[in-house]
Symmetry: C2
Amino acid sequence: MSLNLGTILQASAATRPDHPALRVSGDAVSYAALDRAARGIATGLRERGIEPGDRVALMVPNVPQFTMAYFGILYAGAAVVPLNVLLVAGEVAYHIEDSEAKLLIAHPLFADAARAGAEAAGVPVIWADGSEAPALDSLAGCAPLDAPHPTSADDTAVILYTSGTTGKPKGAELTHSNLLLNCAQVFPRLIPLGPDDVALATLPLFHSFGQTAVQNAMIAAGGTCVLLPRFTAQDAFDLIEAHQVTYFAGVPTMYFALLHHEGGEQYKLPSLKYAVTGGAAMPVEVMKAFERRYPVQILEGYGLSETSPVASFNTMDRPRKVGSIGYPVWGVEMAILDDDDRPVADGDPGEICIRGHNIMRGYWRNPDATAETIKNGWFHSGDIGVRDEDGCYSIVDRKKDMIIRGGYNVFPREVEEVLYGHPAISEAAVIGIPDERLGEEVKAVVALAPGQQATSEEIVAYSKEHLAAYKYPRHVEFIDTLPKGPTGKILKRELR
Amino acid sequence: MSLNLGTILQASAATRPDHPALRVSGDAVSYAALDRAARGIATGLRERGIEPGDRVALMVPNVPQFTMAYFGILYAGAAVVPLNVLLVAGEVAYHIEDSEAKLLIAHPLFADAARAGAEAAGVPVIWADGSEAPALDSLAGCAPLDAPHPTSADDTAVILYTSGTTGKPKGAELTHSNLLLNCAQVFPRLIPLGPDDVALATLPLFHSFGQTAVQNAMIAAGGTCVLLPRFTAQDAFDLIEAHQVTYFAGVPTMYFALLHHEGGEQYKLPSLKYAVTGGAAMPVEVMKAFERRYPVQILEGYGLSETSPVASFNTMDRPRKVGSIGYPVWGVEMAILDDDDRPVADGDPGEICIRGHNIMRGYWRNPDATAETIKNGWFHSGDIGVRDEDGCYSIVDRKKDMIIRGGYNVFPREVEEVLYGHPAISEAAVIGIPDERLGEEVKAVVALAPGQQATSEEIVAYSKEHLAAYKYPRHVEFIDTLPKGPTGKILKRELR
């Protein structure tokens, strides 16, 4: 009854050993080579004292060593703790200590934070390229592990840290079953990926979206990932053309960047068959403009680290609803519940709640946080959404981002959609600021597109024209660029 | 992290509620109706004291009530114990007692054995049609269970009793993960079943082959099963034509019966896209003759109740090797091991051993039998096979069926293949009989095709021409028809 998520690599390596699994900067890593490296790393980890059930932290950008180490850790029966490569030393130490990881595999590009963090946490570092010892290469060269460790389906495969709504980051424990079903059952029913498909892997693999929807989905399909560690529109265009990429998964800001890239209209991207987005709200105007220019339909989906992550998606076999997050995926249920976990009527806003095979085991060693989040059988997303009469879901806003102005609920996303419709605005975020009289007041923080001009008064007037009186922003602040997280999600925390 | 095999039904009911899931004698049961009935049965079972983790025995032929009850039991979080409908009262009692089932759901067609067996075991019976009370219908009408019980992926979903090599039948405990991956990951990679496919479900659903490769694979695909409770060639032809069946799964004797049915050559079966076989060795001559007549390629596979069951298969994307059982399926490893569990050279015979996500949790409350069978990480099949240089496997014979004649190993299957090549022979089984001088001697038991004649001497002479001196049968017995198990497998036990 054993199940190891590494099965997806093992199976593709068995059927098409010579097919490229990964490509980066002109080099290709075949399935056989990737599997061989992972088996060596598994043996090397064992020799360094890693036992099944232990945790190993991984702080590596989108390079082949990420995938090699990821599957090496899984093959060894240990759990992967992927870290954002931009963490500072204190954060690295926190994640290692909280997860009780026994080892950090880090990339020398982030050597300072990795070294200091690991030292503070008292664990050794393995370096992901050959420039420093001990190197991952020397582990990869160990005798290959005979077979992936027979972990049980309910054992933890990956602990994904997520900031959640409050407090310190918490580790969402995802099982082998959670992750395998998300990449190998859910995903192929949305996008029929096969061995001939080529993905541009530029979403960070340490994050749930890139990990499941790109890396793991492609490996399960036996296709090829073209790795782009640091997204730029120019590199993305070049790689899509050079490798005839068929599948692009990106956060909305990536689509926006491609759309607004100078000279971007010269690329035709005829190879693109599938495009998906998620991780943040996709402005409808961006989606429409992208689709007018390039021959692909963007499917928007929804999920969280705690849901492995894919929970709902627009699908190719039903009319896409622009601006929606689609329908619950295979084997997953969603509901819009009120504060007492009772379903609300279709069309009414409430909390998006999820249940099914994709729900995490819980937060790592945090039963209180788990009990707050998984209640009455439902995972509570913290997002406010609505369901329409066809069973299609839309996000209204993050529960925590909702502004209460004079007793009225204002959902920033609605206001942002209006702002994105203004020709001069390239990025917009709407937040609540304290107001003595109203409790909160609505404020817009915007960046203008290159060469564009607008005054605060103009933007307020424009918003007033499109929004109810209690909703439109009374304050506008201009900044050059909005602060973003690793997936391009705008960090409202930092704006407040 | 919950996973319930019932997810396959729940998901298909969510996406295509009105599509027919089951058809029998002109009636159709939609996915919504099947899901509704299963949810009602789950509630009804709860009301009768069935708790998650309990066992419920199911003695029902291929009628919609089998599938309704199967998923009702799963939805309730209990484990299904399917029973062969031909069991006699004492056997029914043994299975109920051994599995500690709390309840028997039985079909009135088998009322005598079911009633007496349940009474001896001291458990109540629910009757699968409305002719006797309490009826399954009354459970199906209960308020629908809100959601499948959140069983864990490693919980036991089904206990399949298997006679094994010796002693009383043992219950192979298959988990939700085992069975879900076999029908929803393994099977679609062999045969791309979809919602437009229609299967003829005439393999018994209480047996692993029909349960996974027909019922569960079709429900996961959202397609339609046409149920035929008792196989006859005439009914099979009629239903394939009437329902435009695209997928036929049968044991070799079914193909044989179709091939030798009077008037069978009049059917063209143009709708058939996929045909698979397993459960017993497929005589090469039968396969070739079938394919000469009908426009479909037969893919032969291999598995056991203990392996969920599919372990290896010929696939559509590699050259089929006639007479082989193909390649290990997705995520499953096979090896040919000697008595010390060391791999033998390609081409040498040894025991077929299997590991991966499809291996049972163990034999129900029988750790000794489990430890004898799952050793050094490998499930030991008891079958002797060889692997060729391409990694393709063939069965030589059942380990226990092997005849040792004067120190030489004789594999009955090889002798049977020769006998099937004789124009007068329609069925053949080769067994060992005690011999004072040689230890064992080779004996053939054969049935002649209608209108054919042959003498014992002719058959011995024919065999001698095609086989080494130590292999050909010295004794030939003629019988009208060979004894067969529920899937059509010839029961050599009974011949000995």
